[in-house]
């Protein structure tokens, strides 16, 4: 199966899952209330996050145009289709320039590269927009790996106790005692450098924190009156976990998801710096541009574009994370504006 077909299918699947989750969540007055409160507090940050999500989805839907001439045509995504098909220049050009940066030869598309072009003549705005998909992949896929793992093992350890608890606690303390960046590097070195492998490595290093929290909370929930009552009424263990334990952990999951997301995207930037990141990420753009500031005259647009996109996404997610924590967890101290 070709890559773009898979990614189109994944987009459909994601939309379906999102619709299902929204419907499920929409039934509960408490979650609806939390959603409204979040929207009231952080409209701008949510809009920024929404824009990046939309970009990522649009960039994941791709198809091959019917070939006019001979030769191979790579499939182009909706984001690619915003730009003309043959948009590359020979090398660097400044934002909105009419001529090349070195040499001064005329550009093929004068004045149309809003953020200039990079060393290979690729349009920087185009690359930066495409970076949204990689960032979302890193944040999203990692969370999809880490959260179910943490939830399952945490509930099993906290609710079940006994041998399971011992085993999970041992696993947690072992993983937690390896400095996380080192663990990340080792995992990627050993299992490989592809996008899936990097996300798995990030997932493996990040489930520990949530698992510890979930375990503690499940331990507490086990003793609560309504769980005891359900048990006395003869509810099966499975249904107690499903109906009473997991729903009461969900706020922790949502909070952790948001916090994980930004730390994962930032970690990816660090990995890209070490040459272990994902292709096309903002981190990789920054890594490739690291020497450009040392030139004279300086080439600033590559670095500026990648880092402002990265900064905008992380800032939005951080702000949303704070608001989510305030809205969902009444015990934490309310802080900030």
């Amino acid at each position: 199966m070709e890559g773009h077909v898979v990614s189109n299918a994944v987009v459909l699947l994601l939309l379906a899952v999102a619709a299902w989750v929204l419907r499920r969540v929409g039934r509960s007055e408490l979650w609806r209330e939390a959603g409204r409160e979040l929207l009231r507090r952080r409209p701008l940050a949510l809009a920024v996050l929404g824009a990046f999500t939309l970009l990522a989805l649009l960039d994941s839907v791709a198809w091959r145009s019917p070939a006019e001439g001979a030769g191979y045509r790579p499939p182009r995504s909706l984001v690619d289709r915003i730009f003309p098909e043959d948009f590359d220049e020979a090398s660097y050009s400044a934002p909105l320039a009419d001529v090349e940066f070195y040499g001064g030869a005329a550009l093929r598309h004068p004045g149309r590269h809003w953020l200039g072009t990079d060393i290979l003549g690729r349009d920087v705005l185009h690359l930066a927009l495409k970076g949204a998909r990689v960032a979302m992949l890193v944040g999203g896929l990692t969370s999809l790996i880490a959260i179910p793992l943490a939830l399952f093992l945490g509930v099993a350890a906290g609710y079940r106790g006994g041998k399971v608890d011992d085993a999970v606690t041992f696993a947690i303390s072992t993983l937690a005692s390896i400095p996380s960046l080192l663990l990340l590097i080792v995992l990627i070195m050993v299992i490989g450098r592809g996008p899936l492998q990097v996300c798995v490595a990030l997932g493996v290093t990040s489930w520990v924190g949530l698992c510890r929290v979930v375990r503690g909370e499940a331990l507490k929930l086990r003793e609560l009156d309504y769980v005891q009552a359900a048990r006395a009424l003869g509810a099966s263990e499975g249904s107690i976990v499903r109906r009473h334990v997991v729903p009461n952990l969900m706020h922790l999951v949502v909070i952790t998801f948001v916090l994980l997301f930004s730390s994962m995207v930032l970690s990816e930037a660090v990995l890209a710096w070490l040459g272990l990141g994902l292709d096309g990420s903002w981190g990789q753009m920054i890594d490739q541009a690291r020497d450009e500031l040392a030139r004279d005259p300086i080439l600033w647009w590559n670095l500026a574009a990648a880092s402002s996109f990265l900064f905008a996404l992380i800032l939005a997610v951080n702000l949303i994370g704070d608001a989510v924590r305030d809205v969902l967890d009444p015990r934490t101290l309310r802080e900030g504006p």
Partner: protein, 313 residues
């Protein structure tokens, strides 16, 4: 107390055994020996050379023998030689420790002092514009990647303002400050946002407690309350935050070191990545974890020193 320490040490030892087990699974069971050889020698190496490499580095011995050898060499800190260039790994670790500590210890001390100081300042002005602005600045600072701090600070302070040399390292005391000022600044900057916010939350939580109100009712000044009451009582969460980070000082600031050409453990790690040197990587991770486990033990001891109510049982 002693019984507790012994038990904790034992538990820490078991954790380290677990880490070693994980490393064995990753490096000896998951990674194919021929693959390790190919990474070390390059894709184009002939099959015979690969097999020769595997044999001479002992990756073709029985698994059990490798397992025993792995545990023995790690636990006795007899790390052997690097797969990549045959140098003694323990030598390299010792040589790298000095430069790494030169980078990280001052960064750490400065960071903690500045962080606690700023957080106290912000918490003192709680519910005012100073506090709000402080939180906003912290969130902004937290959202910038460390990679950008490095590039930006080097460009601004090193190239534009020419305050510091752009990169390099010199262990002579009179030159250390010159070369290290830039890495130190970057290290402090990169961590300060999150730290200040964390400390501020701790301080605010502490200052909403009853004893603070009592102190205020008795006519104690705000500044005195902050320094004598809140700061001292907030030490416990701060200690946890701080002490756990101490062992990380040894493994160094990976990015800063490689960017500024400081020959420390961070650079060693980056070299190991670039050369696909699994033997070095294994040792660095192991040493990092041992130190981390010791750090956690240290935290517990620090608790009793900071808070006489805490009894280690």
């Amino acid at each position: 107390m002693l019984a507790y320490l012994v038990r904790r040490l034992l538990y820490g030892f078991v954790t380290v055994l677990g880490v070693l087990g994980l490393l064995f699974v990753l490096f000896f069971l998951y990674a194919e020996p021929i693959d390790i050889a190919r990474r070390a020698l390059g894709d184009k190496a002939p099959q015979a050379a690969l097999e020769q490499w595997v044999h001479s580095h002992g990756y073709d011995r029985p698994r059990l023998e490798q397992l025993v050898d792995h545990y023995r060499s790690m636990l006795t800190f007899d790390f052997g030689r690097s797969d990549a260039d045959g140098t003694l790994l323990s030598d390299r670790l010792w040589r790298g420790a000095g430069p790494s500590l030169t980078v990280t210890v001052p960064t750490f001390v400065l960071g903690v002092c500045l962080g606690v100081g700023l957080a106290l300042f912000v918490a003192y002005f709680r519910e005012t514009y100073i506090d709000r602005a402080g939180v906003v600045i912290c969130v902004l600072a937290m959202s910038v990647s460390i990679v950008l701090y490095i590039i930006g600070a080097q460009y601004l302070l090193g190239k534009l303002l020419r305050w510091f040399p752009i990169s390099g390292f010199d262990p002579r005391p009179e030159l250390v400050l010159r070369f290290m000022a830039l890495p130190w600044t970057i290290g402090v900057l990169a961590g300060i946002g999150g730290d200040v916010r964390f400390y501020r939350t701790v301080f605010l939580e502490e200052s909403s407690k009853d004893y603070v109100r009592t102190a205020r009712a008795k006519g104690c000044g705000d500044g005195r309350i902050m320094l004598r009451h809140v700061l001292r009582n907030a030490l416990i969460p701060i200690l946890t935050h701080v002490v756990v980070a101490i062992p990380l000082l040894f493994t160094g600031a990976l990015l800063t070191e490689s960017f500024f050409g400081i020959p420390g453990l961070g650079s060693l790690t980056v070299d190991a990545i670039n050369q696909n040197d699994f033997s070095s990587l294994r040792v660095i991770v192991y040493v990092g974890s041992v130190l981390f486990v010791l750090g956690q033990l240290l935290t517990d001891v620090a608790y009793t020193l900071a808070d006489p109510r805490v009894r280690l049982e």
